[in-house]
Symmetry: C2
Subunit: 266 residues, 2 copies
Amino acid sequence: VRFRYVIGPDGTVDMADRGLAYGDGLFETMAISHGQIRHYPLHRDRLVSGCSRLGLPIPGAEELETAIRSTTAGIERGSLKLILTRGSGPRGYAPPQDPAPVLLLTAQASTDRPAPHISVVRLRQQLAESETLAGIKHLCRLEQVLGQQELGQRDADEGLMLSTRGNVVGGTSRNLFAVLNGKLVTPDLSRSGILGVMRRAVIARCAELGISCVERDILPDELAAADELFMTNALVGIQSVIALDAVTFAPGPLSARLRAEPGFSC
Amino acid sequence: VRFRYVIGPDGTVDMADRGLAYGDGLFETMAISHGQIRHYPLHRDRLVSGCSRLGLPIPGAEELETAIRSTTAGIERGSLKLILTRGSGPRGYAPPQDPAPVLLLTAQASTDRPAPHISVVRLRQQLAESETLAGIKHLCRLEQVLGQQELGQRDADEGLMLSTRGNVVGGTSRNLFAVLNGKLVTPDLSRSGILGVMRRAVIARCAELGISCVERDILPDELAAADELFMTNALVGIQSVIALDAVTFAPGPLSARLRAEPGFSC
């Protein structure tokens, strides 16, 4: 399979591209730090899982890394967005037998330092449950868009989104961790949400530090009693939640400790 | 708000377009019959509902109709695809305050006559439930893509898709009607599925003919005992279901009668 590489920011895709027509593709947003992609193996791994789930061809590792290096050349600090689509096809949902996938890459320099603390409000917009689509970073993100639209009417940094079943999933663009009764927990994402790269890195680092993290269903009412709440995202790293609706929290020791770890500072 | 019109088939969109990045947009696929868009007011109406639901600007009626006329000029029979996106924006799910939406139009001539009868198999791929997104024809269609991918491994014309709650929703690209104990029913689509233009036209025409149609939750097991099953879609019109998995059906009288109505023949 031949992938068509498009390097941004001024690239275009055909109007018949299936990424546009049906959300038939995947994306990754990666942090560039000291001229390198932070946690690249985890991004690559999620991309590959997404390809397997959607039946998309997997981009060759070397070819992709060469394209990434040329896209990010000269950027010390910033972000890289990758979009992989199944490419153009004839009308209709059926994927073409011989897809000609497209890989779009854009890098952006940035000097922003993300805030260490954020405020969160619970949103009305819910996240649907789908075992086939949960976890991977596919292009169908209207629920997150509507969540952000709702957040724009509120006075907070991030929104808390629940599944249609009423479980906590996370933020619109962040995963959530809570310390409840001294135990670290994070939502089980087997039916909704995205398995964040920073979430995975945090779970792995905590295991190395002897802190086990339980992935389970979490009800929103459990969060008010949390000892500590924090959110994660590949670009912003680890942010302490200092308010959830009317409940305030002190910035917790675990998020401070993790932020000091190599590879987690932003 | 200024809409950017792109007339296909060779048009492109920016790689930063939100339709591509997040499925942030809508589409319509319309039949061209005798040089006219069939059921255009119903397509327009669904597009406008979708815009309201997603907070997208609504394209001006005259401007859109002029663009459609120029796209379909000279085509007696075929199809017209319209994609409306929120246009390009900065990175992140939050919709831009001043969107520059994009309207993509492509027409295709066709002489295909859709089959009057189709076979259907039940698919494993489910449809998630979302009250915010149900009904409208937004661009996030991965479940339908995966449904068609599964159908490609089977020997049938269309797949029957259920919601995650286990209710019948319809085909991958068709709505379903059933005559059960002499009564016409069709799935309630307030939590999943797309409110098809042909579905709406069928319900309206049946009402004029004195046949009431009940929209309700339907369990898959109810369908085996149906007096008649048919599916609808704006391009293919009304098709009798003559097999659902191992159960066969005779082509029914209601679908035959509706196919003979003006505006329903294909």
